[in-house]
Symmetry: C2
Subunit: 309 residues, 2 copies
Amino acid sequence: MSAPLVGRLAIIGAGLIGSSVARAVREKGLAGTVVVADRDAGVRARVRELGFADEVPETAAEAVADADIVIVCVPVGASGAVAAEIGPALKPGAILSDVGSVKAAVVEQMAPHVPAHAHLVPAHPVAGTEFSGPDAGFASLFENRWCIVTPVADADPAAVERLSVLWSGMGANVETMSPQHHDLVLAITSHLPHLIAYNIVGTAADLEQTLTSEVIKFSAGGFRDFTRIAASDPTMWRDVFLYNREAVLEMLGRFTEDLTALQRAIRYGDGQTLFDHFTRTRAIRRSIIEQGQETAAPDFGRHLVAAKK
Amino acid sequence: MSAPLVGRLAIIGAGLIGSSVARAVREKGLAGTVVVADRDAGVRARVRELGFADEVPETAAEAVADADIVIVCVPVGASGAVAAEIGPALKPGAILSDVGSVKAAVVEQMAPHVPAHAHLVPAHPVAGTEFSGPDAGFASLFENRWCIVTPVADADPAAVERLSVLWSGMGANVETMSPQHHDLVLAITSHLPHLIAYNIVGTAADLEQTLTSEVIKFSAGGFRDFTRIAASDPTMWRDVFLYNREAVLEMLGRFTEDLTALQRAIRYGDGQTLFDHFTRTRAIRRSIIEQGQETAAPDFGRHLVAAKK
Ligand SMILES: NC(=O)c1ccc[n+]([C@@H]2O[C@H](COP(=O)([O-])OP(=O)(O)OC[C@H]3O[C@@H](n4cnc5c(N)ncnc54)[C@H](OP(=O)(O)O)[C@@H]3O)[C@@H](O)[C@H]2O)c1
Ligand SMILES: NC(=O)c1ccc[n+]([C@@H]2O[C@H](COP(=O)([O-])OP(=O)(O)OC[C@H]3O[C@@H](n4cnc5c(N)ncnc54)[C@H](OP(=O)(O)O)[C@@H]3O)[C@@H](O)[C@H]2O)c1
């Protein structure tokens, strides 16, 4: 048997993403030892029960001592504090990475705490569900999904390569870009859609009470799809919007301008503008299907979740 | 064998919905004869090939002669012209119905063409996919979905009951409400979500070209769900917005106000407002799941479509 890719892997935060990384690494035999840390004693007990970690120490600093790669899996706003806690304990040559949905702000928070003898290599697996916690994770979450690695300016190429190989080993397709560019792309592909979904569900919740109950009853017409997106973890998403503010506000500004134009077309009965707009948007979906990101009869990759529950 | 529910059923328009009604009625043996009309000779030929109709006459007027129930399955904006064409050919006691996604405007368009000896009973099956045409339909489309019957003020109770039984026979759960109330409920559960989805996909299409191609590539983060909704038929949706203008503008106004509040919270870093909003919206999803409109690991009912393709 060949040696595993990583000797000792530490995961900080046993939520959906952290527990999925642990499960995937174990299933594929990518690390000799998987160490999982969580600030919550109840969660640590549950991790021991679920059995996807070799070691579950009491503190994050203990978890990272001797680790070759450390992956921080906490909400974006907590990454600075976690880095401050574990930075001093990182061994020479260790790679410190994360999975945050925002990258520039994470680099800003974590970089000051990384000792000169260790390497910061941030990353973001573009995969998830609306569920949270150690029970929600599963080994195949990253399979055939993107993982965007966002090296900092003076990144060590060998460290970037090593982290990329780890994510490939978990089944992900790895892509590299700058933290800033990542934040711009994700603002439109993920952050704005979530904001819009949260918003429309909120609007429905504020209707007169009988109307809201009918909205729930007849939700199948399109609204229901938004409620799934808007059921995602509030802490995670609060942090995404606080820490990717500029890019989100920029995209939101464009969205609102465009919506005003559609609103005007509806008000003045301008059917041609509506028809042209609704025709143009079909091309984008065709491209997504052509690129294999989706099939014509899709299930949002959720057969994985369904199979697992 | 007991006699079928309906002697002669005529369907005008062999698109997704019309062809699904024909297939469902045939599969369940709900009508003695299923007659399907379509204005397009190529579509009529295809209907004959697909074999879900007993008769495929050349004109809509021929199709409705002698029919006990007629279901018009065309875009909302075309329902007036179709009613004008078939109204004079309706036999005494015939029920004229439709499947339009908007109801008050359809009543307005169709009612003047219904002879005194026939009964107008509009309806809307809340079920569909983003595909169009006779090949897209399937018999199980309406199973366990709502069909909202919206009787006019002086409706004949027996006719309303008969149409309701037909939809129940196709597997739908039938609910009754006024056309105006239907339009208000659907404005928020279906029309506004579609408008928002069309809009965000349009915003993405207008980005700098390299950015748009990355949006397509990394669409899995939430955006992809919107592209499916925004791939729906442009003619159908143009008509929905033109013919449910008041209710859509009302709901859009509320949506925009709410979005402005979220935008402000992002701009000023007000994490508490964001967190509270994102927590509140989860309750709506819980209600939907509790009411059996969705499971926690959903596939949007699209296993039906997937199984069929
Ligand atoms: N969910 C997705 O769809 C998705 C996709 C890609 C990336 N991400 C990113 O993945 C990261 C984790 O998200 P998740 O979905 O795994 O969330 P989750 O299931 O809610 O887990 C969050 C984890 O972070 C820990 N944590 C929270 N606040 C902390 C703090 N102040 N200090 C230390 N630990 C803290 C939690 O500890 P407790 O056990 O005490 O709660 C838990 O272990 C986030 O940065 C998110 O942006 C999420
Ligand atoms: N799609 C959904 O999700 C959904 C759900 C519930 C209700 N609805 C409602 O169902 C109705 C039909 O939608 P669909 O999805 O079945 O659309 P579709 O697949 O595009 O079919 C539309 C049908 O209407 C015919 N048609 C179009 N314009 C016409 C005109 N001016 N005169 C006569 N016939 C005309 C078409 O004829 P050709 O064969 O010549 O094209 C075709 O047979 C609409 O009112 C829609 O609001 C749709």
